[in-house]
C-alpha cells in the first residue's frame, strides 16, 4: 500500500472512530459523573485505565493473534480499529467531563419549543438547537480524530497500514530528511486544520474547563449498561488479555531468565535508565502544564484582542507542538539536531527527553484541568486555616487534609505522566542515542522499552515476555510503594511545623 493510500485509510479510520466516540463517550462520562462517594475513584479507574495501557504490551500481546489474522486483512483492520477506539474513548470521556455545559441549555431549548407555533419560528430556533450539543462535541471530536490519526505503535506492531508507519519506516530505512518532511506535509496540514477549532474552543473556555461531577443529565438504564459494557471491553482488550498473553508466555521461561545473570542485569539497568529518564520529564511537563493553566486563568477579559493574542503566544508555543503527536515532534527534533548548533546533541539523551516533554505537556495540561490540583481550592485552604491551630491533634489533622486535598492529586497526576512517558515508544525509538551513560556501565544501555521495541518485531520469546512484564510491573510496584510511603513522609515532615 502506498503512502497516500495509507493516509486515506488513516483518515477514514479516524472519521469512523470520531463518529462512534461521540455517543460512546457520553455513556462513559456519565458512569464517572454519576458515581458518588468512594465508588467514584473506582469507576474512574475502571473507565480511564485504558489511557495508561502501554502500547508495547498491547502490540506484543496480540502479536500471535495478529499473525493468525494476516490472511484476513479486513478482520485485522476491524480488530485494530476496535482496539484504538477503546483506547481513545477514555480520553474523549475526560474531555467531555471537563467541557463547559452547552451555551444553550435543554431547558432553554424547551422554552423556545413552547413558543414555536409556525415554520418560521422553528427555522429561527434551529441554530439554538444546534448549539445545545454541537459546541460540546467540538473538543471530543477534535481530540479523538487527532489521537486516532497519530496512532503509531499498535499499528506498527499489528502491521496495519497507516501514514505514521510509512513515515517511520521511511525514516528508519534511510530516506533523506527532505523526502521524509515532504511525506509529513499532508498529515501535519490536516492536523493543523483540526487543531484550529480545538484551540479556539480551549482559549474561549479557558476559565470554565473544570470537571463537572454533579451537573449531568441522568443516564438512562440502557445508556448506563452500554457504558459498563464499553468500559469492560476496553479494560479487557487493552489490559487484561494482552497482559495475560505476555505473562503466560513469560512464565514458561522465567526459570531460564532468572539463571541468565547478564540478561537480568542488563534488563534492570535498561529499566533503571528508563525510569531515571522519565521521572524528570514527567515532573518538567507537569511544571509546564501548571504554567499553561496559570496563563489560562490569568486571561484578562479587559485586554484588547492584540494583547490577548500576545499573551496566548507562550501558551500556544508550549502546548501546540505536542498536539501534533510523538512522530511529528520526534522527526522535527531529529531534523533540528542534524544541523548546527544542535549537532552535538545528536548522541545524547537530550533530544529524546525534549520530545518526551513536548509530547507530554498537552496531556499534562488536560490532567491538571481534570484534577484541579493547582487551583485555589476552598477545601485545601480550610486545611491551611486549621493548620494555624496550636493544638497538636488539629495540626496533624491539617497536615493529613493538606496531603489529601493538594499533594495526593499532584502525586496521581505525576504517576500517570510518568507511565505515559515510560510508554512513549515513538520518541524513544527515533531519538534514543546508541547508549546512555547513566550508570557508568560500559555496556550498551538504552531505556528498556526501546530495547524491547527493537526485538519484538522479530517474534515472541520467553525472555522478551519476562522483560515486557517487568517493564510494566516494576514501575507499577514502585508507584504503589511510593504512594504508601509518600503520605507518611509528608506527615513526618509537617508534624512539627508551626504556623507563623
Amino acid at each position: 500500500m502506498s503512502f497516500h493510500e495509507a493516509f486515506v485509510w488513516t483518515i477514514l479510520r479516524s472519521v469512523a472512530a470520531t463518529t462512534l466516540a461521540v455517543p460512546m463517550s457520553i455513556c462513559l462520562s456519565q458512569l464517572v459523573q454519576q458515581a458518588t462517594g468512594r465508588s467514584r475513584f473506582w469507576w474512574m479507574l475502571f473507565v480511564l485505565c485504558p489511557l495508561v495501557a502501554p502500547d508495547l504490551i498491547i502490540g506484543y500481546g496480540y502479536r500471535s493473534f495478529e499473525l493468525s489474522l494476516l490472511h484476513r486483512p479486513v478482520l485485522n483492520h476491524c480488530f485494530y480499529f476496535v482496539l484504538i477506539l477503546l483506547k481513545i474513548l477514555p480520553a474523549a470521556a475526560v474531555i467531555r467531563i471537563c467541557s463547559p455545559p452547552a451555551p444553550v441549555s435543554k431547558a432553554a431549548l424547551h422554552c423556545a419549543r413552547l413558543i414555536e407555533c409556525g415554520v418560521a419560528e422553528k427555522r429561527q430556533h434551529r441554530p439554538m438547537r444546534l448549539n445545545v450539543e454541537l459546541l460540546r462535541h467540538i473538543p471530543v471530536c477534535g481530540i479523538v480524530f487527532l489521537l486516532s490519526m497519530q496512532e503509531f505503535e499498535i499499528a506498527s506492531l499489528l502491521q496495519i497500514p497507516a501514514w505514521t508507519v510509512h513515515v517511520f519506516d521511511a525514516q528508519a530505512s534511510g530516506l533523506n530528511m527532505a523526502a521524509t518532511l515532504k511525506l509529513l506535509f499532508g498529515p501535519v496540514l490536516l492536523q493543523a486544520v483540526i487543531l484550529v477549532p480545538l484551540l479556539w474552543w480551549g482559549l474561549a473556555n479557558s476559565a470554565v474547563i473544570v470537571p463537572r461531577w454533579r451537573s449531568v443529565d441522568c443516564a438512562s438504564g440502557s445508556s448506563r449498561w452500554l457504558g459498563v459494557i464499553v468500559a469492560s471491553l476496553a479494560a479487557l482488550l487493552t489490559w487484561v488479555i494482552p497482559l495475560a498473553f505476555v505473562t503466560r508466555s513469560g512464565l514458561s521461561g522465567i526459570g531460564g531468565v532468572l539463571e541468565n545473570q547478564v540478561l537480568l542485569r542488563s534488563t534492570f539497568l535498561d529499566l533503571a535508565t528508563a525510569i531515571a529518564l522519565t521521572i524528570p520529564c514527567a515532573i518538567l511537563s507537569l511544571v509546564l502544564a501548571r504554567k499553561v493553566i496559570q496563563i489560562f486563568h490569568g486571561y484578562d477579559a479587559t485586554q484588547s484582542d492584540f494583547a490577548k493574542a500576545v499573551s496566548s503566544v507562550p501558551l500556544l508555543l508550549t502546548v501546540v507542538p505536542g498536539l501534533f503527536g510523538s512522530l511529528v515532534v520526534s522527526i522535527a527534533i531529529l531534523v533540528a539536531t542534524q544541523h548546527a548548533p544542535l549537532l552535538d546533541l545528536r548522541t545524547t539523551a537530550w533530544p529524546m527527553a525534549a520530545a518526551l516533554v513536548i509530547c507530554l505537556v498537552p496531556r499534562a495540561t488536560i490532567l491538571v484541568a481534570f484534577l484541579p490540583v493547582f487551583r485555589s481550592s476552598e477545601s485545601a485552604f480550610l486545611a491551611t486555616l486549621l493548620g494555624k491551630s496550636r493544638g497538636r491533634t488539629r495540626l496533624k489533622n491539617a497536615a493529613d487534609l493538606k496531603w489529601w486535598c493538594e499533594c495526593r492529586p499532584m502525586f496521581l497526576v505525576t504517576a500517570v505522566l510518568f507511565y505515559w512517558c515510560l510508554a512513549n515508544l515513538t520518541a524513544a525509538a527515533i531519538l534514543c542515542p546508541p547508549t546512555i551513560p547513566l550508570f557508568s556501565f560500559n555496556g550498551n544501555v538504552v531505556p528498556l522499552p526501546v530495547r524491547l521495541y527493537k526485538f519484538i518485531h522479530q517474534g515472541r520469546t520467553a525472555a522478551l515476555s519476562v522483560m515486557a512484564v517487568l517493564s510494566v510491573l516494576v514501575p507499577f510496584v514502585l508507584l504503589v510503594l511510593t504512594s504508601q510511603v509518600a503520605p507518611q513522609v509528608y506527615l513526618r515532615m509537617t508534624r512539627h511545623t508551626r504556623p507563623n
Partner: protein, 323 residues
C-alpha cells in the same frame, strides 16, 4: 467602623482584580470584634471581601491586617465558604472530629454537634451524597465546632429550609454568646442582620457604600437602595404625613419610615384612598392614590390591615418612639 475598642481587621486601600472590573476597589475598612454583616446585591463583591478577610484571596493592591482577639481558643480563624469547602474524602462525622479542639470550651462531642444540626443520621455519609441544605448545615456545624476565635461565614444557610435555618441561626447566636466569637457573615437576609449583627458593611460594584451600625442603616439609611437591603421601607415626604405633631422633628422630606413604625388610620377627610391591600405573612403592601393629584404610592406595614379596605380614605401615623 464605629468606635472600635478591639479592631480585628484593618484593610487599607485594598484592590482585588477581576475579569471585567475590580472585584474590590480601593477599599478601606476596619472591622471590630462582635458580629458584622456584609450585604450587597449579587456580584457586589461580598464573597471577594470575605475571601480577603480570610486570606484566601490575595489583594492586588493595599494591605489587609488581621489580629485575632484574645480568647481561650487555639485556632484564630475559620471559614465557611460559599461552596461549603467540605473535604470530599471525609464522612460527615469526621468533618467535625477533624476540627474539634483537644481542650474544648463547649465540651461537646462530634455526635452532639451533628444532633444539634439534625445530621446524626448522616454521620457515615460522604459529602457528595448530601443535599445542598445538608452540606450548608455541615459547613456551619464544622465552623462552630472548631471554636475558632473568629468565624467568617459566606452566605451561611442560604440553601437551608426556613425551619432548619431558624434553628441553626439560634445555635449560631448561642455559640457567639457563649464563646464570645467574632463573626463576619455575608447575607441577603435582612432578618438575620437585624437579629444578630451589630455592624453592617454594604458593597456595590466592589466599593463600600455604607459601613456602620445596623440600627443606623435601618432607621436612617442614606439612600432608598441601601434601605431596601434591610427590607421594605416607606419613603414619605413631610407633606404626606398628616400626623404632623406625631412626627415633628423627625419627618424631613423623603424620610425613611420602616413598616413597623407606620400605621394607616381611617379618616374620611384624609388625602389618600386605598386602591388595594395585599396581606402577606410578614409585611402588608397597600397601594394608595392621592385624591387631588392622582399620584400613586405603595406603603408597607408590619401588621395586617384587615380593618382597611379598597376605597377607604386613610392617613399615615408615624410612631415617633420606635422611629
Amino acid at each position: 467602623m464605629g468606635d472600635m475598642s478591639n479592631p480585628v481587621w484593618d484593610l487599607r486601600r485594598v484592590t482585588l482584580a477581576g475579569r471585567d472590573r475590580p472585584r474590590v476597589h480601593n477599599l478601606t475598612l476596619a472591622i471590630s470584634d462582635g458580629v458584622t454583616a456584609v450585604m450587597g446585591s449579587s456580584g457586589a463583591g461580598k464573597s471577594s471581601l470575605l475571601g480577603l478577610l480570610t486570606d484566601f484571596e490575595k489583594s492586588d493592591a493595599g494591605s489587609v491586617e488581621f489580629a485575632a482577639p484574645e480568647t481561650a481558643t487555639d485556632l484564630p480563624l475559620f471559614w465557611s465558604p460559599q461552596d461549603d469547602g467540605l473535604w470530599p474524602h471525609l464522612t460527615v462525622q469526621h468533618h467535625i472530629e477533624f476540627v474539634l479542639p483537644s481542650q474544648s470550651q463547649l465540651d461537646r462531642s462530634s455526635v452532639e454537634w451533628l444532633e444539634l444540626f439534625s445530621l446524626e443520621e448522616l454521620q457515615h455519609v460522604l459529602p457528595d451524597s448530601l443535599s445542598q441544605g445538608e452540606r450548608s448545615r455541615l459547613a456551619i456545624a464544622r465552623s462552630l465546632a472548631s471554636e475558632a476565635a473568629v468565624l467568617v461565614l459566606d452566605e451561611p444557610l442560604v440553601h437551608v429550609d426556613p425551619l432548619h435555618a431558624h434553628r441553626c441561626w439560634q445555635i449560631i447566636a448561642e455559640h457567639i454568646d457563649r464563646c464570645g466569637t467574632t463573626v463576619v457573615f455575608s447575607t441577603h437576609d435582612p432578618d438575620a442582620v437585624l437579629k444578630f449583627a451589630q455592624n453592617v458593611v454594604c458593597l456595590e460594584k466592589g466599593i463600600i457604600v455604607f459601613a456602620g451600625a445596623v440600627n443606623e442603616l435601618y432607621f436612617d439609611p442614606p439612600s432608598k437602595e441601601l434601605a431596601w437591603l434591610l427590607g421594605p421601607c416607606n419613603w414619605l415626604g413631610h407633606d404626606d404625613v398628616d400626623g404632623v405633631e406625631a412626627c415633628a422633628g423627625i419627618c424631613r422630606p423623603d424620610v425613611c419610615v420602616r413598616p413597623s413604625n407606620l400605621t394607616l388610620v381611617q379618616d374620611s377627610n384624609a388625602r389618600f384612598v386605598v386602591e388595594s391591600v395585599l396581606n402577606a405573612a410578614v409585611v402588608t403592601e397597600v397601594k394608595l392614590r392621592e385624591r387631588e393629584s392622582e399620584r400613586r404610592l405603595t406603603v408597607f406595614l408590619s401588621q395586617r390591615c384587615d380593618d382597611v379596605a379598597t376605597g377607604d380614605s386613610v392617613r399615615f401615623v408615624v410612631d415617633p418612639v420606635l422611629h
